[in-house]
């Protein structure tokens, strides 16, 4: 079920937030920024798939 995607994104966000704090505290700000960027790219790739699914469903239901 694609409801799991919401929890996956929340989990990725929490993990990235924790990693971010850890890396910033240990003085590696560039790696913290890269971690945030990587998490964001993963999340965006998940979203793009779901949105294309939504567009296909809307097109097929409403005959656009």
């Amino acid at each position: 079920m694609d409801v799991d995607l919401i929890f996956k994104i929340a989990a990725i966000g929490i993990i990235v937030a924790v990693l971010n704090q850890l890396l910033i505290r240990s003085g590696r700000e560039e790696q913290a920024m890269l971690t945030t960027l990587a998490g964001l790219i993963v999340v965006l790739s998940m979203i793009v798939g779901e949105i294309s699914d939504l567009f296909r469903t809307v097109k097929s239901v409403f005959g656009l």
């Binding site: 694609d2 409801v3 995607l5 919401i6 929890f7 994104i9 929340a10 990725i12 966000g13 929490i14 990235v16 937030a17 971010n20 945030t36 998490g39 964001l40 999340v43 965006l44 998940m46 979203i47 779901e50 949105i51 699914d53 939504l54 567009f55 469903t57 809307v58 097109k59 239901v61 409403f62 005959g63 656009l64």
Partner: protein
């Protein structure tokens, strides 16, 4: 799948979005967008048979088929425009939200213009008929 499912999904997603907003507002927006997409997909799977019934109803009222089709297309365009404008507004980008709504309005106008032309033609024909009679 019932209304309880969707209500639960939205409440839990709102909780997660508020939880993440403090650390990473972009993840909060991602959760908002994907919750909207998931809920819409779940709802559309329920809506498809209803639309079929509505089309049958319109056919039995001997209305032309194309009117119902235009109505459903307008509904789909409105849903998509509303989804994107809500996502932009949640992210604090009011200008982009307005642009999404404007795009929806423009395409609705393009969709509905042939119908309006038909109404205008009918009105002109009625007026000419009144003069001739």
């Amino acid at each position: 799948m019932s209304v309880v499912t969707i209500v639960g999904i939205t409440v839990i997603a709102a909780f997660l979005a508020v939880l993440l907003r403090r650390y990473h507002p972009e993840y909060s927006m991602a959760i908002g967008v994907i919750t909207g997409a998931v809920v819409l997909i779940l709802l559309l799977s329920q809506l498809a048979p209803v639309l079929g019934r509505l089309q049958a109803l319109l056919r039995s009222a001997s209305l032309p088929e194309e009117y119902g089709i235009i109505l459903f297309k307008a509904l789909g365009i409105s849903l998509l425009a509303q989804l994107s404008s809500d996502a932009c507004r949640d992210a604090g980008e009011n200008a982009m939200a307005e642009k999404a709504e404007l795009a929806g309005k423009v395409f609705l106008l393009i969709l509905a213009l042939p119908l309006f032309e038909k109404v205008a033609e009918l009105a002109v024909r009625l007026m000419n008929g009144g003069e001739a009679g």
